[in-house]
């Protein structure tokens, strides 16, 4: 009877044992809670940074899947352009996986004000299409966004405006080349100024109406790039398949953002690896203390354990009892750690301002605001690692305790 104590009785025994030395239990509890907090909180910060990086990267030239002339990426000139997409493509894009798409001309150009000149990328865009794939008009800090494909004005970056020592409403000259390799130039009035999340974007791009640029470059009906946006940038498989089918038979290259920006793609992968390593490292640091605590708890009770065995308690019951003790400790620690983590992410959910090191963050491709990203997957991973590995680690001392010989154990002082 006493050899197979019901689980309820064992649990009660384990729970009471846990609090016999409350100081030790509290310290261990605090350590577990701190470890779990660190696992979840730091992961949320790092995830937040990388997510932001990827989103900024994608936003800097929107479109989760892009279509180019096969030679365009190697030689981004007007010569390597394609015809504007026809009705079949437009119809295919009318699918629920597509949230927006647009076609743009994208060629290297030189911009000159009265005083300065600079090199950049000239984007001939469809203003509404750009908004559909993710251009945010509230990044326009002065003037207005383009109104139509044949809008005669241009929208430049704030930084570029300073470089050129010019201002809103002033005229600048854009120079590029046409498909016959002749220099093509045209004067434009600056009608808007945009601010990029990364300062580099403000110097890299200038926006103009697509038809206007096509006219300037003698390239009617030609575009360099078709950009298609979907619901979630992480899951671009369906979108890629759809675009590939829609461009079947055309001499074009379809690429997802992951292939276009290998740094961002690599960072997402590095992050997943990092989260796992971080959680396991923290667990390992905890495990020494966990084993130590259980060992001490058992050591103090050797005589008691011997007595119980002598009275007929099965070794397996002793094993279970100690594992339960460990389980309670881990569960309490996890509870506390999770609550702490959520509570510490909550006050900074609107972002942490890191502008002190903004230029450094920009080197990583990250912006100065850090938004923690608390993900249920990461929380589940942390909790699972702690419970599963924690119980596995506790097996060692518990197994030891269950193998004491009653007589020897009782004789121990």
């Amino acid at each position: 009877m006493s050899g197979s104590l019901p689980i309820a009785a064992l649990s009660r025994l384990a729970w009471r044992n846990l609090w016999r030395n409350y100081r030790r239990t509290l310290i261990m509890l605090l350590a577990i809670a701190l470890g779990v907090w660190a696992m979840i909180f730091m992961t949320a910060l790092m995830r937040g940074m990388v997510d932001q990086m990827v989103e900024d990267g994608i936003r800097s030239l929107p479109g989760h899947v892009q279509v180019h002339h096969p030679l365009y990426r190697d030689d981004p000139s007007i010569e390597n352009s394609m015809r504007e997409p026809g009705e079949a493509f437009t119809a295919a894009m009318n699918s629920p996986v597509v949230t927006g798409w647009t076609a743009r001309l994208r060629v290297p150009a030189m911009i000159s004000s009265e005083r300065e000149n600079r090199g950049l990328m000239l984007l001939g865009v469809d203003p509404d299409g750009e908004i559909a794939v993710g251009f945010e008009t509230d990044t326009i800090v002065e003037g207005r966004w383009l109104e139509s494909v044949d809008d005669p004005g241009i929208v430049v970056g704030k930084k570029m405006l300073e470089r050129l020592e010019t201002g809103l409403g002033k005229r600048v000259v854009l120079m590029s080349q046409d498909p016959d390799n002749e220099i093509a130039d045209r004067g434009f009035r600056i009608i808007g100024v945009f601010e990029g999340t990364l300062a580099a974007q403000e110097e890299a791009y200038v926006y103009a109406g697509r038809a206007t640029v096509q006219g300037m470059l003698n390239a009617d009906g030609e575009v360099s790039e078709i950009a298609v946006a979907g619901h979630d940038y992480r899951d671009v498989g369906k979108l890629e398949k759809l675009v590939k089918e829609a461009t079947e038979g055309l001499d074009v290259e379809v690429r997802t953002w992951k292939e276009l920006d290998s740094y961002l793609e690599a960072m997402l992968g590095v992050m997943d690896g990092f989260v796992l390593v971080w959680i396991v490292v923290i667990f390992l640091a905890l495990s020494f203390g966990l084993v130590n605590t259980l060992m001490m708890a058992i050591f103090e009770r050797i005589r008691e354990i011997g007595l119980m065995q002598a009275l007929g308690m099965k070794p397996s019951a002793i094993l279970y009892q100690i594992l339960l003790e460990s389980l309670f400790l881990l569960a309490l620690g996890l509870l506390l750690g999770n609550v702490l983590a959520v509570a510490s992410v909550y006050p900074i959910r609107d972002g942490v301002d890191l502008s002190v090191v903004a230029e450094g963050m920009e080197m990583f491709g990250a912006s100065a605001m850090l938004y923690p990203a608390l993900k249920s997957d990461d929380m589940i991973l942390a909790n699972t690692v702690v419970i599963v590995l924690g119980i596995l680690t506790s097996l060692i001392p518990a197994w030891h305790a269950s193998r004491y010989r009653p007589v020897e154990a009782i004789a121990k002082t």
Binding site: R23, A38, E165, E265, V270, G273, E300, V357, G360, M363
Partner: protein
């Protein structure tokens, strides 16, 4: 008498040491587990810190040596906004004076302009740099990265060296001619035709796409510079020499020119390192605190289980402060074990990767962005080895203060009665 006292003291502390050592091994498994936690985090910290320091060194050196140098002398405001007219007059004679005042450093003059570069088929905007062919190789690694052809030689020849990406975009090769169009120093129209004599491949996409170098004399003539230039670049052997060099050069700068150090020239670099270092220390901090908790728990237990024993010895006249010192000594010994073994293992790990290099999936892409090679070699130096373990040691001692302080309040009679 005083000799006696001193001897007595010495014997006593040796005795405490012996006592502490023996106490440590009364629960050898517990001691090893606690020391194990220290060893684990010490090895990890040594590995991580030496990796970080190693990659920072490489990041700084690669970035500075590639192009910017350690110090530049420029006209006021040029660094913020690189305008043609913000220039240094009679730059060549000033460069000679800088060279004389810093005999060990490499010094070279540069002028820069933005221009439209056209081949027969293509045109792009590019940054043109006029360089002194004889001195430039000392301040920049670009001249050494020529993959086709040769670097510039004659300071007045109509020649150009371009990056590999630019060559591909312009569809030009060695011996082909390139037309330059821009505006000169006096605001007039500047144009020239130059021959491609070399193509460099730095691996930094930005440089390879947009930077081209011309001989200084030819640049002067084409852009009507009238003796003006934009920067005097100084390259030193290492970062420690930057501060003394800055003070040597200060009198030469005068009122119109500014001295910029590497941090001002590459504003993102130091901050990227700071951001990386502080986020790393946040993580190390958690690890170290966890180890400290482990020590706290162990020492508290070890004090509590000896309550009776401590009661007896204090009844015999041993002062509580002596007992507290004993506990601290025990902790210090345990932490020393953790430090020694951790340091040794950490040193082995760092040493191994210092020769073999380290690479992980995704690093190649990250490395390219930070001007790093695709393998990182951790630095093995006293700083990188000791920094982590010493902090761990300190926190372990801190953690023992609470258990030790409990002894100060020890009441012998009650303690002896304790279960």
């Amino acid at each position: 008498m005083s000799d006696d006292l001193q001897n007595h003291g010495a014997v006593f502390s040796l005795l405490s040491l012996q006592l502490a050592w023996r106490n440590l091994w009364r629960h050898s498994r517990r001691t090893w587990l606690t020391a194990g936690a220290m060893i684990f985090s010490n090895v990890l910290l040594i590995f991580m810190i030496s990796l970080q320091l190693g990659s920072y060194d490489m990041m700084i050196n690669n970035t500075l040596r590639a192009f910017s140098g350690h110090i530049q002398l420029q006209a006021e405001g040029y660094n913020e906004n690189q305008r043609m007219r913000r220039s240094i007059p009679s730059i060549l004679s000033l460069t000679r004076r800088v060279r004389e005042s810093l005999p060990d450093a490499a010094v070279s003059a540069r002028a820069a302009a933005f221009a439209l570069v056209s081949s027969e088929e293509r045109s792009f905007g590019a940054q043109l740099i006029g360089v002194q062919p004889a001195w430039e190789p000392g301040v920049s690694t670009l001249p050494g990265l020529i993959s086709e052809g040769r670097y510039l030689e004659d300071p007045d020849a109509a020649e150009i060296v371009i990056g590999a990406v630019m060559a591909r975009n312009l569809k030009v090769g060695l011996g082909d001619e390139i037309t330059l169009l821009g505006s000169g120093w006096d605001g007039s129209f500047a144009a020239g035709v130059v021959t491609v004599v070399g193509i460099y491949r730095s691996g930094m996409a930005d440089l390879d796409r947009s930077l081209a170098q011309l001989p200084f004399g030819y640049f002067q003539a084409t852009f009507f510079m009238q003796g003006h230039g934009h920067a005097i670049v100084v390259a030193l052997d290492d970062l420690d020499q930057v501060a003394p060099a800055l003070s040597t050069l200060q009198p030469l700068a005068g009122d119109d020119l500014v001295l910029l150090d590497w941090d001002a020239l590459n504003p993102g670099l130091k901050q990227a390192i700071q951001a990386d270092m502080s986020s790393a220390w946040l993580m190390y901090g958690v690890l170290i605190v966890l180890v400290a908790f482990s020590v706290l728990n162990t020492q508290l237990m070890s004090v509590m289980e000896r309550t009776r024993e401590f009661g007896v010895v204090s009844a015999l006249g041993v002062r509580p402060s002596r007992l507290a010192m004993l506990v601290l000594l025990e902790t210090a010994l345990m932490a020393l074990i953790g430090l020694a073994i951790g340091l040794f293992l950490g040193w082995l790990v760092a040493l191994y990767f210092n020769t073999a290099g380290l690479s992980y999936p995704g690093m190649e892409e990250a490395a390219a962005r930070f001007n790093l090679p695709d393998r990182i070699y951790p630095s093995v130096s006293p700083l990188s080895l000791l920094l982590g373990p010493v902090v761990v040691f300190g926190f372990c001692l801190l953690a023992a203060i609470y258990p030790a302080a409990r002894l100060l309040r020890l009441r012998p009679v009650e303690a002896m009665r304790a279960a």
